[in-house]
């Protein structure tokens, strides 16, 4: 399509193939890929995990772990030179000065034992730019330009004093110190909260504009693409399946894979109300308090953090109640207090209007455990790697007195209920994909016939296409078994899709609480408004063609 270079082109990847070591799941990390990054444009590389997008970025920067992972064909042309042919020393000169890069994990991307100013200074040092005095000013200027507070003294701080968003700003400042022509951003906002993400995205956009840079922006999130991209290249299993101007791809995707990806993005608008809500309250939380005491010892007094402040809400029978907030808002704490993984410090957790769970302990709690079950976030951490899947699901009933044979029989049933073959009961977790594991996690939670499921970010760790399937499953089960769900998430798109009502949490408190549609359409609290405004791509409506592609696929699967 537009694979021709023009004089706007800064960086051009031509038929690049990167080989993987023997024993990997495929031969080449990327195969025959081509795309260009143009001056003044942001190119988004979109793909799910394992699509080879990071390898491409690292290949450009010469950061591949050679000789294990090695470019074997193609060219990477930058400012007229093929980077793959350059000697390491020359390449080093380009890195940091002509090509800058920022990474996904701002928490670990900065050297913890070095002052921020020094780390930025290193860039000048390495490329022999600017004198001592100028540098100092330049560092301050840079820190200011990425919108960091108190830039004069920040240079003397260590990274641990900064939040994730601030660190990412430092990374950007560092990458842009020598005004490179191209900035490569490898999922730079994935680890950030949604409001922070919005700020960073704005910042990158602005800097790119100001400096007329080319940006290669790697992401898995079409929302983000909609927010920043000028050009888009979609990658699947090491190949570029579709590329072109952002508006084209977003609104009229051609390739089935692109269609599927786009179609899997949850709609931002909450759906019309589905049926009537039961008025019966299953669980009511009243004035729940939870204070963490850290690092307490025999000789030291701990510090306290109040994670939940007088939290109150109800969950009705058969509803999905969303608990929404950014990291540190206390939403997980509340969830864990309800399943009694954490001991609350005050307040009531009244179940079926008959018993205060918060007052129960040890044996007294045991019979109530089974009524409230939990689904966890990380499909890789939530299953014991040393137990067979059947056993994992059967453990719950067995702990409540069911015989082993009966529990295993039930486990097989449940596996089928969550869309897996009952024969997999004899396998170990590591033989399953993330989505399958999450299904197993759901089966485990269902094994005790609970009345309430606490789902703590159950889809955040999944690729977007899998995410949609798991959400569907969850919704389906809820309807079929008429159970209630407390759905904890940071993702407002997901919340919009699945929750009948939501509660928005900030710093341990519920700031807004109500019907999902109402909260979305008419947010009362400023924080809620901020949160909604930060959702990437909120003004982009997902094209029908994509929706249809997903639905077709679903249908196909069911027919098969």
């Amino acid at each position: 399509m537009n694979n021709q270079t023009s004089d706007k082109t800064l960086l051009s990847i031509e038929d690049l193939t990167v080989r993987l070591p023997e024993g990997a799941d495929r031969d080449n990390a990327v195969e025959n890929i081509s795309f260009q990054v143009n001056r003044g444009e942001i190119l988004c590389i979109v793909g799910e995990s394992g699509s080879g997008k990071s390898v491409t970025a690292n290949a450009i920067m010469g950061l591949l772990p050679r000789p294990y992972v090695e470019p074997v064909a193609g060219r990477i042309v930058f400012e007229g030179r093929d980077l793959l042919q350059l000697p390491e020393a020359t390449l080093r000169d380009l890195r940091g000065s002509r090509v800058g890069m920022i990474f996904q994990e701002p928490m670990t991307a900065l050297n913890p034992v070095m002052k921020i100013g020094d780390q930025i200074n290193e860039v000048f040092d390495a490329h022999g730019k600017a004198g001592r005095k100028e540098r100092k000013e330049q560092v301050v200027e840079l820190l200011r330009s990425v919108g960091l507070p108190d830039p004069e003294s920040l240079g003397d701080s260590y990274p641990f004093r900064l939040s994730g968003g601030q660190r990412q700003r430092v990374m950007i400042a560092m990458a842009l110190a020598l005004e490179p022509g191209v900035l490569i951003a490898d999922e730079p906002t994935t680890a950030l909260d949604v409001t922070t993400q919005a700020q960073i995205l704005r910042l990158i956009r602005k800097l790119q504009d100001d400096r007329d840079m080319g940006v290669m922006f790697i992401t898995h999130d079409f929302g983000v693409v909609a927010e920043v991209a000028d050009q888009v290249a979609v990658m699947q299993l090491g190949e570029v399946v579709e590329s072109g101007p952002a508006q084209e791809i977003l609104n009229n995707p051609q390739h089935p894979y692109t269609q599927r990806l786009v179609g899997s993005v949850p709609r931002f608008e909450p759906p019309e109300a589905r049926g009537k809500l039961s008025a019966e309250t299953l669980l009511s939380v009243r004035s729940l308090d939870k204070t963490y005491v850290t690092a307490r010892g025999l000789f030291t007094k701990g510090r306290t953090v109040q994670a939940a402040k007088s939290v109150s809400f109800d969950i009705r029978k058969g509803e999905t109640m969303g608990l929404v907030g950014e990291s540190g808002s206390g939403k997980s704490t509340v969830g864990r207090c309800i399943v009694r993984l954490l001991e609350s410090n005050g307040g009531e957790i009244r179940f079926r209007d008959e018993i205060d769970l918060a007052s129960l302990k040890g044996r007294g709690l045991q019979p109530y455990r089974k009524h409230i079950q939990m689904i966890f976030q990380d499909p890789y951490a939530s299953l014991n790697p040393r137990r067979k899947v059947g056993r994992i699901i059967a453990e719950g009933p067995m702990a409540h007195g069911t015989s082993q044979a009966e529990a295993h029989r039930r486990a097989e049933e449940l596996l089928e209920l969550v869309g897996l073959d009952s024969a997999v009961a004899d396998r170990y977790p590591h033989e399953f994909s993330g989505g399958q594991r999450q299904r197993i996690g759901i089966a485990r939670a269902l094994a005790l016939d609970p009345e309430l499921l606490v789902a703590d970010e159950p889809v955040s760790a999944l690729d977007v296409s899998v995410q949609a399937q798991v959400l569907d499953l969850l919704d389906d089960i809820k309807q079929r078994l008429n159970i209630s769900v407390l759905f904890i998430t940071h993702d407002l798109r997901v919340a919009a899709q699945i929750c009948e009502r939501i509660a928005v949490m900030q710093l341990g408190e519920i700031v807004e609480y109500g019907d999902t549609r109402e909260v979305f359409s008419n947010p009362q609290h400023p924080y809620t408004r901020e949160l909604l405004a930060a959702v990437p791509g909120r003004n982009w409506s997902i094209p029908e063609v994509a929706r249809k592609a997903v639905a077709d696929q679903q249908l196909q699967k069911e027919v098969l």
Partner: protein
């Protein structure tokens, strides 16, 4: 302010740890068969019940155990480590006569081990997979797996007996009457073999640890950042990899430096080095309770002190550690 109160808190904690150690050891040692009176009576070549009782009375061993403990603790709290029955000398005097020798030996061994361990480890990590790395790794493994006393004996045999290059025992040439610089050189000559022998094992430990730690740090995101910044490999190794890789090495070194002081028994025995490790061993065989307890207390105190120093060093090298 923050640092001071931090030190104070750690010191108080250290004192509690030491007291617990003293009580534990006090009871432990009394479990051993025989007491100093019996040993001394035995050595006298002829002894009877009366003589033993006479000694036991003199040493206060006829009092109930809890009273002995109480008396001892009272002494310790006023920094009085008691009297060595057998050596007929204040325990503190005996220990502080010997402590400098041990500190010299272990200090030298430690510096040697740390310097070369880190250097070799860093070198191996920088050349990972190449023959330099293999050589260093094998060398470190062998040093790590060889019994210390065996190396000690072999080195005496080789360097002292056959080659005659270095003295094989003692801390200085007795009776040579060296003074000033000559004396210092003489001590240094005596120091080489024991310090090297003792240091070799620890060197191996630090080599392995530095290497492993560096390899781990090399995988860190911030090292990738540094490369993306276009820094030269040498600078990345020095400023980013080594500095972070040394943190666990410092922790380990801090623990071991303290432990070394009490743990140099073997080296001190083979090289006739007049330190407290040997003092302890002799005191144990002679059931010289107070002396033994004293050595334990002092060497444990050294450990506590080194741990404190390590923590302090840490607050300087690792800004993440908050002192307040």
């Amino acid at each position: 302010m923050g640092k001071l109160s931090f030190i104070a808190r750690r010191l108080v904690k250290g004192v509690f740890v030491l007291l617990a150690i003293v009580i534990l050891n006090f009871l432990l040692i009394r479990l051993a068969p025989g007491d100093p009176a019996q040993v001394m009576a035995g050595e006298a070549g002829a002894a009877d019940q009366e003589f033993i009782q006479q000694l036991q009375e003199k040493f206060g061993l006829n009092q109930p155990l809890h009273e002995q403990l109480f008396i001892y603790l009272k002494g310790v709290l006023t920094l009085d480590l008691g009297w060595s029955y057998r050596q007929d000398e204040a325990v503190a005097t005996l220990i502080f006569e010997r402590l400098p020798a041990t500190l010299l030996l272990t200090g030298t061994a430690f510096c040697f081990a740390l310097t070369f361990g880190v250097l070799l480890g860093a070198l191996a990590a920088a050349r990972v997979g190449r023959w330099t790395d293999s050589l260093i790794t094998v060398l470190a493994l062998v040093c790590y797996a060889t019994p210390l006393f065996w190396v000690a004996l072999m080195s005496i045999l080789l360097f002292s007996v056959y080659l005659g290059w270095l003295p094989g025992f003692g801390m200085f040439s007795v009776g040579a009457g060296y003074t000033g610089l000559e004396f210092v050189l003489d001590v240094l000559r005596h120091l080489i073999l024991p310090a090297l022998t003792l240091g070799l094992f620890y060197m191996a430990v630090y080599t392995r640890m530095t290497r492993a730690s560096m390899l781990e740090v090399m995988e860190m995101d911030y090292v990738k950042t540094a490369r993306a910044k276009g820094l030269a490999p040498g600078r990345i190794t020095r400023m980013h990899v080594l500095r972070n890789a040394l943190l666990p090495v410092i922790t380990l070194a801090g623990i071991q430096a303290g432990q070394m002081v009490g743990g140099a028994v073997l080296t001190e025995t083979v090289f006739a080095w007049p330190g407290i490790g040997r003092l302890m061993f002799d005191a144990l065989l002679q059931r010289d309770y107070n002396l033994l307890l004293g050595v334990f207390l002092v060497s444990s105190a050294v450990v506590v002190l080194f741990n404190l120093v390590t923590d302090l060093v840490y607050t300087f090298v690792d800004p993440r550690i908050e002192v307040s």
